[in-house]
Amino acid sequence: MTKRLFDWLKQPLSLIAVGIVLLALFSFAAYGVSLTQKSPEQPIQFPHKTHVSLGIQCLYCHAGAARGPAAGIPSQARCWGCHNQIAKTQTSQLLAPLKQAVISGKPLEWVPVFIVPDFVHFNHRAHIAAGQNCENCHGDMSKVTVAESPQVFNMGFCLNCHKKVAAGNQALLVKLTDCGTCHY
């Protein structure tokens, strides 16, 4: 088959055809990949930057980060605690789903974007305890509306930071780069 293939490829028309096919495949793949990188649709276009600019701490809403593995999504009661004091909540189009959720008792369906595959055990607590700030991984939330992941959370991203933190400390480096630290 290989010889046949090369003979066939020597014709100029074939080369063009192959070129077109490859281009089509490439653009299709690129489109597919770009689809995966788009942030998913959220029930509310939640403006993180507004909340951060008002001086609200990350841990006020995502309290689980300091205590355990998951940072958690705040309950509607937490949103409503402030928002029922704010007149704009009653009229704002953007906030209508929140109002609706509170009235109907049906929770909003958020789609977390900062996710890692199931075979990774990520624990927020250890990172907060080690003095890492939220923005080190999640980016500057004072600039974004709906949460978007500023980088791909792959193993390289984790290990780069782990190595940097452990620089010069061999014992710590072994701990932080051990497979079993995250994959168990």
């Binding site: 495949l25 793949a29 995966t36 689980g64 309950s75 937490r78 977390p112």
Partner: protein
């Protein structure tokens, strides 16, 4: 050869391109996005982002293993064993893990329903109307026209109905489960009663034994308390204080328990009693001393001929049993499910007496009694169910309440439960799932799923302590269901008179507290509390209550060896040429067919999934010209069914076996119209203890010419890649 790049090659290349695209897109985070619903109003004791764990009790079988369920934002997401519970010490079986698939099952009964019998759908009624219906049923009928048929789980519901029965004169509740039929529980306890003069379930200390002989007991699958016995088996095999133990299994087909054995003895069905006595005689001779009367009349050479076990093998087994410092023999399952089953059970217990292991580590004990446990709570034998069904058919009952059991599926079809239902004016089911019995009912008033329920379960065997495992709701009920105990309390109040005074409780929790309150005075409980609220809080937190002392008792064995025992072969019903062995599918058992995790779990020995098969020895199959996946018709004197063949080398050539667990005609989308139910073949022959002689039948095989491929994990070519052409 063409000088052009062929169409086929082009397609290959295009295929590679498409696959690359698919892989690239599949790797992106988009493939993992899921929707999350946060709490509307988070309970105070929760932290955002942290799991909350609750201790409760597994309801997938009657063993009563403790569970710890991980919940996250109000949803149950993982079940594991409760490490505190002395029965299962932190372990579960596959069915315990899959209990979540019951909770989230899309086919649950979500509202109280009134329907015409046999119709899948019906009209929704309110709970007020439902309670009124139950109250009317209680009030407007004579007490002896009201019957309760309950399952083997939810002991607290059974206790409530028992109280109702004793105080108002309605019929005593009867409880049944297919597992107790297949494990021959009644036979085991009757044999113990005959030999030791005391009713109770023997406890077999597998963990500390050195040599274990099991006669049909599939204790690593579903028998009595599988998690506890599996842990015992681990102790037999690996221990710091003794050598690796030996395990021999006697049965005509290799079950997954037998697959773990050092030796599998494919005994001829029906000869169990004489083989046990022969081993007893040979072992007693090796041990010296006078020959016990129980074994005096047996002739090992004759037994060897009848049972297809060579005399040398019998001698070798007897030597193994006699010379080990810790021998144990266990009876159970198909060996007892025969016409002479009681004699088999007695012979096995006598064999234990011959090596004097009663009350010693690695021997036989009486199981400790759970708190408030009495003989009244045992499950019915099939013979008792036969009487019950006859009474139904004769119109003795005007009202039948059914909870926690699916007799239309679990009982042998020849008993005619479905037809007998026509003799009952009003059938009220409390089923959580739309099973066969629920669809033949006039009303379905759905109970919560076990993970949404209060309750307790008594541990009848498997633990050295006296244990009552507690249940509490781990999630808020997902649907408009209501606890059956609450429904009965409310209905009794509405019915008034003696009913109201029989159940003077505010709700289910108050009833539970009234039942566990006496435990506060016990001296050997592992926790104590001065008042009921604190006691209840501990009961919920630890998942039950148990004693700290070894509650096993020693049987009275004075005359056991001096009884003469029956060694006759069992009788087989039917004309066929093949012994028929129905066995409980270890992964699915009687109620797991609606859980996809369990359907997808390959059977441990054949690796078949999602279906029923019949196991036929390849030699027999070759004689009959039957290949894998050929559909054959099996005929017994009670019924017939068509089922695809799995050529199974580990079964006697004169025996065929069909797993029980599939073949539902209702029970939701994952269970319906999948496989066949071997209960359709079962007749009405009983052993002396009233248990069904389910393994005491002979059947015929006929080819049908049809084929139905079985899905299975192993390759169609077999493990070693060869196949007879």
């Amino acid at each position: 050869m063409s000088d052009k790049f062929s169409r086929r090659d082009f397609l290959k290349l295009a295929g590679v391109g498409a696959a690359t695209t698919a892989i690239l897109t599949g790797c992106g985070p988009a493939s993992r996005y899921v929707k999350r619903e946060p709490y509307m109003l988070m309970p105070e004791y929760n932290y955002n982002g942290l799991s909350t764990y609750y201790a409760t009790t597994c309801r997938e079988c009657a063993a009563g293993c403790g569970l710890v369920v991980r919940t996250f934002q109000g949803r149950a997401i993982k079940t594991e064993g409760n490490a505190n519970n002395p029965l299962n010490l932190g372990k579960t079986c596959a069915r315990g893990q899959a209990t979540l698939h019951g909770l989230y099952n899309p086919d649950r009964v979500t509202e109280p329903i009134k329907r015409k019998r046999g119709n899948a759908s019906g009209e929704t009624v309110t709970w007020d109307a439902a309670i009124q219906t139950v109250a009317d049923a209680l009030k407007n009928n004579q007490p002896n026209e009201i019957a309760f048929l309950l399952g083997t789980t939810s002991d607290h519901l059974f206790d409530l109905v028992a109280d109702l029965s004793t105080q108002t004169g309605i019929n005593a509740p009867i409880r049944f489960g297919a597992l107790s039929m297949f494990e021959s529980r009644a036979t085991l306890s009757k044999a113990a009663e005959n030999l030791f003069g005391k009713v109770g379930l023997p406890f077999f200390d597998v963990g500390k034994a050195q040599t274990v002989f099991s006669f049909g007991a599939n204790f690593l699958e579903t028998w009595l308390s599988p998690v506890s016995y599996t842990r015992g088996f681990a102790g037999l095999r690996e221990s710091k204080t003794k050598q690796r133990g030996t395990f021999v299994q006697f049965e005509s087909r290799m079950s997954s328990t037998a697959a773990k054995a050092d030796e599998w003895i494919p005994i001829r069905p029906g000869t169990e009693a004489m083989v046990i006595l022969a081993i007893g005689r040979l072992a007693s001779e090796l041990r010296g001393g006078p020959l016990p009367r129980a074994f005096a009349d047996i002739d090992p050479a004759g037994v060897a001929t009848k049972s297809d076990i060579k005399l040398e093998t019998l001698r070798h087994l007897a030597e193994l049993f006699a010379n080990s410092n810790g021998s144990l023999a266990i009876p159970g399952g198909a060996a007892l499910g025969q016409s002479n089953g009681l004699a088999v059970a007695e012979a096995v217990l006598t064999l234990n007496a011959a090596v004097g292991n009663f009350g010693k580590p690695g021997g036989v004990f009486f199981s400790p009694l759970a708190p408030n446990q009495t003989e009244y709570q045992r499950s019915a034998s099939v013979q008792e169910m036969q009487n019950f069904v006859k009474q139904m058919a004769n119109g003795k009952f005007k009202v039948l309440f059914v909870h926690g059991v699916n007799p239309a599926f679990e009982l042998p079809a020849s008993l005619g439960f479905k037809d007998a239902l026509k003799g009952v004016e009003r059938v009220i089911s409390f089923a959580t799932f739309p099973d066969e019995t629920a669809s033949e009912s006039d009303y379905v008033f759905p109970d919560h799923h076990g993970l949404e329920s209060w309750g307790y379960q008594r541990v009848t065997t498997g633990s050295v302590n006296s244990v009552i495992s507690g249940s509490q709701p781990v999630v808020v009920p997902l649907y408009n269901t209501r606890a059956t105990v609450d429904v009965l309390i409310a209905a009794a109040k509405l019915a008034g008179g003696k009913f109201a005074s029989a159940l003077p409780f505010k709700d289910e929790v108050e009833f539970l507290q009234s039942k566990i309150a006496p435990l506060m005075d016990a001296s050997d409980g592992f926790f104590a509390a001065p008042d009921i609220n604190t006691f209840m809080a501990n009961f919920q937190q630890y998942g039950g209550w148990w004693t700290t002392t070894d509650g096993r008792s020693l049987p009275n064995i004075a005359d056991v060896l001096n009884r003469s025992l029956k060694d006759a072969e069992s009788e087989f019903a039917g004309e066929g040429e093949f012994f028929f062995v129905p066995f409980v599918l270890p992964t699915i058992a009687e109620a797991g067919a609606n859980k996809p995790w369990l359907q997808e779990l390959p059977d441990p020995t054949t690796t078949v999934m999602w279906n029923t098969w019949v196991e036929i020895n390849p030699a027999t199959a070759d004689d009959l010209g039957i290949e894998d996946d050929d559909v054959v018709k099996i005929t017994s004197d009670a019924g017939e069914l068509e089922v695809p063949v799995y050529r199974y080398p580990a079964i006697r050539p004169d025996t065929i076996a069909i797993p029980f667990g599939q073949g539902h005609t209702a029970y939701g989308r994952y269970a319906e119209n999948r496989g066949v139910n071997p209960a359709d073949l079962l007749g009405q022959n009983f052993n002396d203890a009233g248990d069904l002689a389910f393994a005491g039948m002979k059947v015929k095989i006929q080819k049908t010419g049809k084929k139905q491929p079985l899905s299975r994990l192993e390759g169609k070519l077999g493990v070693y890649g060869f196949k007879k052409e």
